[in-house]
Amino acid sequence: MTFEDTDFRQETLDLENPFDVKLVKDFLGGLGFEFDPAEVECTMIVYNLKGDLVGTGSHQGRILKYFVVDPKFRDTTAFALIVTYMTEKLLKIYKHTFVFTRPENAIRFTGLGFTQIASAEPLYTLLEFGFESIYTYQDYLKTLIVPVTGETVAAIVVNCNPFTNGHKFLIEKAAVENEIVYLFVVEEDQSAFPFSVRWDLIRKGITHLKNVKMVRGGMYVVSGSIFPAYFLKNETVDDVMQKQAELDVRIFANYIVPVLGIKRRYVGTELYCKTTESYNHAMKTILPLSGVEVIEVTRKAIGLGSDNLPDYISASKVREAIKKDKLSEVIDFLPDSTRDYLFSDESLPIRQKIKDGKGRH
């Protein structure tokens, strides 16, 4: 391996090797970062010719992480060297790369040619670099624009993991109340049901609604789970979640709303999931400033649950039922498309995965 800067020596680490992991861990630990090898795919490290550790950088998928240079070497080109190395590697695989960093450090990346997308002060700034950018996504949105005569343009963002009657109810309500509804489906494949399946079940479930336009969420609509929380040791989980949601909503308000002329955003009331709750809170604070009305729709319930409270439809209850093999208990929650799918053999691997799996999704 050759490189252009002869002051430094660079190496890719073997993350399976405990000595290599310890090396990065100690280096980052000394500078106040907690290194978690499970959070990265590949780590590189830079020495100078005397053998001093100068800096390190990692990535997970298309996200750059743990880019740290020892303060003694911050006046050298080490930082740029690490960034060059990683972006060059990633751009061979992906169309673009992302960085989350503290707002005060954003300038170090913009100085190298990264573009700032959005900022949630005082914790995060999101930047990107590569062949594609958020403008490429905007071009995609422009191809979907449906001309309207009035002002009633609505948007809904759904994950639909899986698609339930609750989602269907929300979409139908928005379709009745608006001229056009843009339905964003979260594309990030971090959910139990993969994107292609979720997209298909929704598409089959809403064929009767002619004024609903389905939109791929791309890299920019709720990319929540990619979010690194490692440099936020002093913040509570709630703060991190809140800021993450704020970042997402700001991107929606600044880049998506103006392109499609969205005036309303429909959300279901949230009772079960804390992440979604902080997301709804962020929407109510930020979206009205961009002229978007947030309409919170009370969840659809079917009868009373065992605790004598209304039995609200929720995708997490469906996943819970799959896990316990009691799918028949939630049958009323499921629209035809999802029911047929869940009772078919096609969904067997996914059901098995949910049974084996842990965690929120």
């Binding site: 391996m1 050759t2 490189f3 252009e4 800067d5 080109t77 740029a80 060297l81 960034v83 060059t84 190395y85 972006t87 060059e88 590697k89 751009l91 061979k92 190298l112 040619g113 590569g130 062949f131």
Partner: protein, 95 residues
């Protein structure tokens, strides 16, 4: 000619100019995204150099991204030539 693969030339640390090239679908022409810290003063000459160079190599169906930090003309030409050659798989990158 059309680029065969996506390619990059230039580095962040040298602070002159970075070029990224990727192939586009057939008959889509050229798409140039040029950003420069000296756009105001040297933007037109930068554009001219890039266009001339692409003409010289008869490049079409190409998406070119340039992040310029005020590189001099010979540097711009050298970087771009390298990027073109890499994208045509006539030359390999340093990594």
């Amino acid at each position: 000619m059309k680029p065969k693969i996506a390619a990059q030339s230039g580095t962040f640390e040298s602070s002159d100019v970075i070029f990224l090239i990727e192939p586009l679908p057939d008959n889509s022409g050229r798409k140039l995204d040029i950003s420069s810290t000296v756009m105001q003063q040297y933007g037109s000459s930068f554009n001219r150099i890039v266009t001339e160079m692409l003409d010289e190599y008869q490049m079409t169906d190409i998406h070119l991204i340039a992040k310029d930090k005020g590189a001099l003309e010979p540097t711009i030409k050298a970087r771009l030539e390298t990027a073109i050659n890499r994208s045509m798989e006539r030359q390999e990158g340093t990594l």
